[in-house]
Amino acid sequence: MKNRLKVLRAERNWSQADLADRLEVSRQSVNAIETGKYDPSLPLAFRIARVFAMPIEQIFSDEIEVSP
């Protein structure tokens, strides 16, 4: 699953740790989601959408992440 977490975070000038605090998860978790190595559960995906005040489908898409 692809996501725009890194871009959205950068737009708000948040570090991974800032976002992790807002989501009440570890920085590792944010990093793993951003790099596409871990797909969040539905409740966490909704929490992410709430934090960014955006619809979930504008953050996540079901395209498969292709590793470089």
């Binding site: 009440e24 570890s26 990093n31 871990y38």
Partner: protein, 136 residues
């Protein structure tokens, strides 16, 4: 839950360390006490069985502390722990299975079952590091 570090929240980590330290201290006290009792008091067979099973109680406390710890982690950290536990359990299960055949069919030296738990703990530690690195 405050997660400002790479690892689990400090409160979760502190509670885990405290619970493990208490269980560890009880374990040492019971093992030393049971060993001295067996050596100097020569208890009957039924008492030997009870003494031999006594260290199981703090071991179960350690298991409880680990389950509490894992349940307090976030979903990604739980996934890492679960993956590491499954792989470590598989490695030890197949290794002990294979060594059983080697003991019976190839005359390898007998190894006490008491080593299974330390081997599992060590393997979990190694596998956990590998799994964590994979997600970096």
């Amino acid at each position: 839950m405050s997660c400002d570090s790479d690892g689990p929240p400090p409160k979760v980590k502190q509670r885990y360390i405290r619970d493990m330290a208490i269980a560890g201290a009880i374990y040492v006290a019971l093992v030393v006490g049971a060993a001295l009792t067996i050596r100097y008091m020569h208890p009957p067979q039924w008492a030997l069985v009870i003494l031999a099973l006594l260290p199981l109680a703090p071991a179960l406390l350690m298991l409880r502390a680990y389950v509490v710890y894992v349940n307090a982690l976030d979903e990604f950290q739980r996934r890492v722990q679960t993956e590491a536990a499954i792989v470590a359990a598989g490695v030890i299960a197949f290794a002990s299975f294979a060594y059983g055949f080697l003991e019976d069919w190839a005359n390898f030296p007998r190894i006490s079952l008491i080593w299974v738990f330390p081997a599992l703990s060590f393997t979990f530690g190694v596998v956990h590091r590998i799994v964590r690195r994979r997600y970096k």
